[in-house]
Symmetry: C2
Amino acid sequence: MTRSFTIGVDFGTSSVRAVVVDCADGRTLGTDVFDYPSGERGVLVDPRDPHLARQNPADYVAGLEASVRGALAAAERDPGFARDRVVGIGTDTTGSTPLPVDAIGRPLALHPRWREHLAAHAWLWKDHTASAEAAAITDAARRHAPEYLAPIGGTYSSEWFWSKIWHCRNVAPDVFEAAASWVELADFVPAVLTGVTNAAKIRRCVCAAGHKAMYSEVWGGLPSADFLATLDPALAELRSRLYDHAYPADRPAGTLAAPWAEWLRLPAGIPVAMGGFDAHYGAVGAGIRPGTFVKIIGTSTCDCAVASADTPLPDIPGICGIVNGSIMPGYYGVEAGQSAVGDLLAWWVEGVCGGGEALHAALSEEAARLRPGESGLVALDWNNGNRTILVDPRLTGLIVGQTLRTSRAEVYRALIEATAFGARAIVERVQEYGVPIERVVCCGGIAEKNDLFMQIYADVIGHPMLIAGSPQTPALGAAIAAAVVAGPEAGGYDGFESAQARMTSLKEKRFLPDPAARAVYDELYALYRELHDGFGGRTGETGTNEGTFMKRLLGLRDRVASSGASA
Amino acid sequence: MTRSFTIGVDFGTSSVRAVVVDCADGRTLGTDVFDYPSGERGVLVDPRDPHLARQNPADYVAGLEASVRGALAAAERDPGFARDRVVGIGTDTTGSTPLPVDAIGRPLALHPRWREHLAAHAWLWKDHTASAEAAAITDAARRHAPEYLAPIGGTYSSEWFWSKIWHCRNVAPDVFEAAASWVELADFVPAVLTGVTNAAKIRRCVCAAGHKAMYSEVWGGLPSADFLATLDPALAELRSRLYDHAYPADRPAGTLAAPWAEWLRLPAGIPVAMGGFDAHYGAVGAGIRPGTFVKIIGTSTCDCAVASADTPLPDIPGICGIVNGSIMPGYYGVEAGQSAVGDLLAWWVEGVCGGGEALHAALSEEAARLRPGESGLVALDWNNGNRTILVDPRLTGLIVGQTLRTSRAEVYRALIEATAFGARAIVERVQEYGVPIERVVCCGGIAEKNDLFMQIYADVIGHPMLIAGSPQTPALGAAIAAAVVAGPEAGGYDGFESAQARMTSLKEKRFLPDPAARAVYDELYALYRELHDGFGGRTGETGTNEGTFMKRLLGLRDRVASSGASA
């Protein structure tokens, strides 16, 4: 039997990783990582504004070529591998990470005229400069077009497409004027690989469009020009230079352009899959299907679920995104997330306790000897805000129950528990609205390394916690998409389900809920929810927590900060 | 003019300190410290019970002799000093620290039969083994004799006289049976110095009696036998072997016994002042008077105020003690306190951040560069419960407002601020009920060393923060009491006011409220009070917070702990 291979390329926050996988079983034959050379670990920052996070598009192009070249070279060490049996390429990226492009689809930042201008670079997902615009968009949509907000959780985020573009228009109008269009990184990479030379012809994925740009076939694409005009007439004008239609992941973005085929010594004309967000392709690579909830656990957590699109799925309050076809064709893709998980533990261990990896391990070991409820601590996991189900990036952390004997390890465990309670709030909310969940499949280093973490999650959430077989599920998911667009005749598959059945796996180690621990955690979770609802506002009804304690405390902080700036 | 001198002896938790002072100006001529040799830094502990804290009475006697001997030897280096010009001795101790004695007033623990029995030793102030008894006493008094609780803040503490004795009766009935009487350490030391050989003749100070044993002339002394019988008939029977009358601090306990005069080479027959609590004599040594609030700031904080006894002072809800004559004759002594101040900072710096003195200094320096409100943090200072104004040792800590950028120094400052807010709650409560407060005089290492701490307190409380001139105000206060009982004809004084005017002083450094900081702290304090009242229950109405969040969290913790113990 002839073997066939696909390539998956995953654009992360600090680096890009390429994998070459075997279509028969998803096994990785070669992999390579390219660290972005620009900025601080790949991120362009502004010392005057901690909310700013940009990336140099030149890094993407250089990283694409270098990582794929490296992965292919590595794969060639396998005697069964041959470049001419590569049947497709798929890519995934962070998002929402829009960048301004010129008429031929070239990033403005690559022009000498704009190279030094931060607004002309890619606006990385975690750029939070556009919070005022996000609030204004939310406000306008609530008044004029509430239907736009329903599938994205009721609040438009400062991290998303329109907020960032509008902020660019407000703070860097020359960049805005110079842009022929704006493209999500997820769409930019396939456009590069397929050799698009007309910005108007770049194919946009439904994943980014639906989750970040208020795109829906229900209202005919992007938000109406009338609505955008209420924000800023310039946005209404821009709309015509964006896109009318977005594509699901089983459609190719195009075929590999001849120059790339030559540079990479790959067959010309092989299909390039539609781009997608790392979380979504990660969910694919983790084996997502109805009943399987996928958590990609890193500094923050991305959650994905799918539900058959055969029956309509209602909007779910507080869930940031429900988009038909966004994760896999034929399913509603449901996206949620927690703003700080690994970051929360790192804050404690590194930021507060002043330790590193060794202390992480020591605290984890010590915390594992504690029983649920024993420390008398409960925490809120909001040191970086709450993405789901409160959709409020300004919320802050809380720890209660400390005594003079409270140890670092007790707080460490309480913080893990807090993130598990946050995860349970998401799982329960999604289930309540008809999305089936029977097990949780996790990806990421924490899932693979921290047994305590996984057991606490099993006990708190009450479902088995499993670990994806691949350590690189986003890249694997992109490679799976490539196998689907290649199709069976080329050695690929006729759909995501059949591709996943062969190409994804689970690790043997699994964590099952312990009934005794679960009983204690049910009580602790009730206490967590009291704090959650009391300090966070009424769940899922955004904008209802403006007068609450945390907001008044933040208001005071902000007034002090601005009075200092003017002093 | 002939000089005259007095001796002050201060029995602390880990050591005893003696000073020899000049009656003319309070200047210290000689000092010496004796570390208690028994237990862990002077405290007998039980590895099975973290609430247990006892002391070996043999340490008191050895420490008394050694420290006075050492202080006198040091004083002799001053050519103007002469032992025959020593005109009195005063002593102060921790409390409530009761110990069981035999018929001749000798501690049971000094008998070979009882030496190994922890219950026969002194029950140190911070022993918390008697919490069940304290709750039962509070409950019984609320039902049968609420007047007993009014002057002590509405709740009887596990740290106090009757709780401890009753607990001894419950857990060590043989010790209870063997005791002819129980004596506060504050009364035991003068009894030793004056050579009392009959337990019934030991003079009891109104300070310990009124603040810790529910003694009042209003109801004829100690609680009635009828009331005590509702607790346990054995306590009612013990009452007759305790005391009927307690004495204020301007009356001598007696005169120095001949053997002590000989051992110490002091004039025989000089007066020995009534004993008193370290906090009260510390307040005297700090120059307490109407309008001056004294804070003795250490691991915890003791607060004292006085108000003229010429006009009646109402009971103040949540204030642990208001006793006529307890601090100085002619004044109501008002006692309050915070359960963790230095301990709270040590918990953070040492327990959590893993540092020592250097880190304390570094965090203090960094925190001093922050402006009020800038961190967005607010904390509750209850890691060791709340002594005043909620009188609830089971309350726990809370920190809210953390982000991923929250630094150790920000939390350090927030914890200082939390203790300052707790201090403000006390000051405001006391003022509301008619006790004048115009300035705050502080004693203790934190006051002398940590300028940031003092400035925050000035800004939060809104009164000038001053520092007592003597670093050993309790011993100085005891020496002042000795000068008062010696009287003017012996080179002493005719009252505390005149003695204080000459013998106490303030340091030049003082901290005045900054109006801008005060404005921000007014807002932060309002937020603190929201947490305070929400998590602590209705202020000053004890027993009203049983169903609140912290209590339910503690209830869960305790159930988990007891289920583990039985497993």
